[in-house]
């Protein structure tokens, strides 16, 4: 039996096709999210990769902020529920999941069976989110994916405000005008995101294993800064960005009466 999960975020669309709730058959990531052709493109990519027709997929579950907009879904679930399921599948030891998405950050507490026991979300603010990193990367004329490696070269990270993206932008420009090293500025940016998210995580309660989910998990600078701020190791899966879509596919499988 095939089930599909689609995670429609603010900046990207992700799709995962699962066979029998255990085997990942296909996955697709498109850099276009809500209000674009991205979701459909990701879905068509899955069909092309698997050679399946839409009818051969028993159930399709949507998640992410655009979850209610995709007509192909049989049901929808919140991205927190999806990331909890996806992370438990990828890292069964995970008890705290930190998902930094394009426009918000969430911390999810899991019990031993992978069930959500609590969660917190950030308030309406870009600080501590993927959007913050995008804005900062834009100022530095870098791609977001370059931030992690550059941060690793830092000797003395500069201090960037963790309270407001707009003010932090001015701070970054001031630091560059004062001749600060780009790597130190990038490391400061990563620490800023980590500081904000660590405070959120402490509100939820930090239990090991701490696992990062979502696209920002790929950023080594943020991962390491988060680990320092929380004083615990922070693990991640190379599939972290797909964890929401994977969780949605797992949920679809469960809905078919096949608990994983």
């Amino acid at each position: 039996m095939f089930t599909l999960g689609i995670d429609i975020g603010s900046t990207t669309s992700k799709c995962v096709l699962l066979k029998d709730g255990t085997h990942i058959v296909a996955q697709a990531l498109v850099d276009a999210g809500i209000g674009t052709e991205g979701p459909e493109e990701a879905f068509q990519s899955i069909l092309a990769q698997s050679g399946l027709s839409p009818e051969e997929i028993t159930r399709k579950t949507a998640t992410g902020y655009g979850r209610t907009r995709w007509q192909g879904a049989d049901n929808e679930i919140s991205e927190l529920t999806a990331h909890a399921l996806g992370c438990h599948f990828l890292i069964p030891e995970a008890r705290t999941v930190i998902d930094i998405g394009g426009q918000d950050a969430k911390v999810i507490s899991l019990d031993e069976k992978g069930r959500m026991s609590g969660f917190v979300m950030n308030d309406k603010c870009a600080a501590g989110t993927g959007r913050f990193l995008e804005v900062m990367a834009g100022i530095l004329k870098l791609e977001v994916d370059q931030l992690g490696d550059l941060a690793a070269q830092s000797v003395q990270p500069v201090n960037i405000s963790s309270t407001c993206t707009v003010f932090a932008e001015s701070e970054v420009i001031s630091q560059l005008a004062n001749g600060a090293d780009r790597a130190d500025v990038v490391a400061g940016i990563c620490q800023s995101v980590a500081g904000r998210v660590a405070a959120l995580a402490k509100r939820a309660g930090v239990r090991q294993q701490v696992c990062m989910s979502g696209g920002v998990a790929r950023n080594r600078g943020v991962r390491e800064a988060l680990s320092q701020a929380l004083e615990v190791p922070v693990v991640w899966s190379p599939m972290a960005q797909m964890a929401g879509a994977l969780g949605a596919a797992l949920h679809a499988w469960q809905k078919c009466g096949k608990p994983t």
Partner: protein
């Protein structure tokens, strides 16, 4: 009338306060606005005036920003915005209590921003449950009476207050009963439940009591609907149609509440056996379990736990009005008490200017997954 017909009446009144006010004015009645959280409505009622609750509205704030800083309660800001926009035109006065710092600012700003509607302050004591506190409250009520007489030309008589207190006690009892009855009726939506409470602010209490009694009769004859996920709400206000729609969409039933604009209003009756004005002071002295009422013990947290458990609520949704510091101070205490009782808590921040509730939807949807 059927349950749905009566609920529709409540919803029409709750959604059209201006029409309700115009009706009063057309009958020759004088309307006195009453600001949150507790105002001596019975005094206004006893003087033959119509008390009319003002808890603001969901709207974009523009002119009120000339008077308030950015980070202050949007309920207060929207009350002033509506005042400046002449939405309350025709009202004879507004009584604004001093129960939080934002309310104090509202009163002072109102004097300058809305000079056409006289501002009457009601200054309450922090330590209300002792002789000095009672005397302070009484002095505050006497000031309200004197100012009302001046603003409206109406006169105050204590025997009339006694009759009004009976009407208000009766209303309290009926509201407590409907609150319990609605727990057993999941078919009544969150939006409909809210309208039962909200309409009370725009109706004479004897009229609201009669309509609630009709609802109780109809509910007693009705078959309860299918079970939903029961939750308790807590906060200052929970009347946003967009937010309530999310509760309904996601299959929640608000089984009980600790909301200032709802059940908190009806917990404490005016005691019998005292002179009417003293009895009204005694009622305030005995009131508790509210973020704006000083309480060293913070018994409110345990009340929330006990109520939620008694009504079968699987979790508590704290609907926190942004920048409401009394509620923000209470939140950690409530969270701790609920955690200790194994009662999940969700914090949803709202304000009067919110146009998009998608983050709240995600949080509530996830909360449903956690508790069900």
């Amino acid at each position: 009338m059927s349950v749905q017909e009566i609920l529709k009446t409540f919803q029409d009144i709750a959604a059209n306060p201006r029409a309700q006010m115009d009706r009063c004015l057309a009958q020759g009645d004088k309307v006195v606005l009453t600001a949150p959280v507790y105002t001596p409505e019975a005094i206004i009622h006893a003087m033959g005036l119509v008390p009319f609750g003002v808890w603001g509205a969901d709207l974009t704030l523009r002119k009120s920003k000339e008077y308030f800083p950015a980070f202050i309660c949007s309920i207060m800001q929207s009350v002033l915005e509506l005042g400046i926009n002449d939405t309350y035109k025709g009202a004879s006065a507004i009584v604004i209590p001093s129960l939080c710092d934002s309310l104090k600012c509202l009163g002072e700003n109102w004097k300058y921003a809305v000079p056409s509607i006289p501002f009457i302050p009601m200054t309450y004591p922090q330590n209300r449950n002792n002789d000095v506190g009672r005397a302070f409250t009484k002095a505050g009520y006497e000031r309200v009476i004197a100012d009302l007489e001046k603003a409206t030309g109406a006169s105050f008589r204590e025997d009339r207050l006694g009759k009004s207190l009976e009407i208000y006690n009766r209303h309290n009892a009926v509201m407590r009963l409907v609150d319990k009855t609605l727990t057993a009726h999941p078919e009544v939506t969150a939006a409909q439940r809210s309208a039962v409470y909200k309409s009370a602010w725009f109706m004479r209490k004897e009229e609201h009591t009669a309509l609630v009694m009709d609802l109780l009769d109809a509910l007693n004859d009705a078959q309860p609907g299918a079970e939903k996920v029961k939750v308790m709400t807590s906060g200052i206000l929970c009347d946003s149609p967009a937010l309530l729609e999310i509760f309904d969409d996601l299959g929640f039933q608000i089984a009980c509440d600790d909301v200032a604009a709802e059940s908190r209003q009806y917990r404490t009756d005016v005691p019998k056996g005292l002179a009417p004005l003293d009895a009204l002071c005694e009622q305030f002295a005995r009131m508790n379990d509210c973020s704006v009422l000083y309480d060293v013990e913070k018994h409110r947290a345990q009340l929330i736990v006990d109520t939620a458990q008694a009504r079968g609520a699987k979790g508590v949704v704290v609907v926190l009005t942004k920048f409401c510091d009394p509620e923000e101070f209470d939140y950690p205490i409530i969270k701790k008490a609920c955690d200790a009782a194994g009662l999940p808590v969700l914090l949803v921040e709202v304000d009067r200017q919110m146009a998009n509730f998608e983050q709240a939807r995600t949080a509530l949807e996830t909360f449903r997954d956690v508790i069900s």
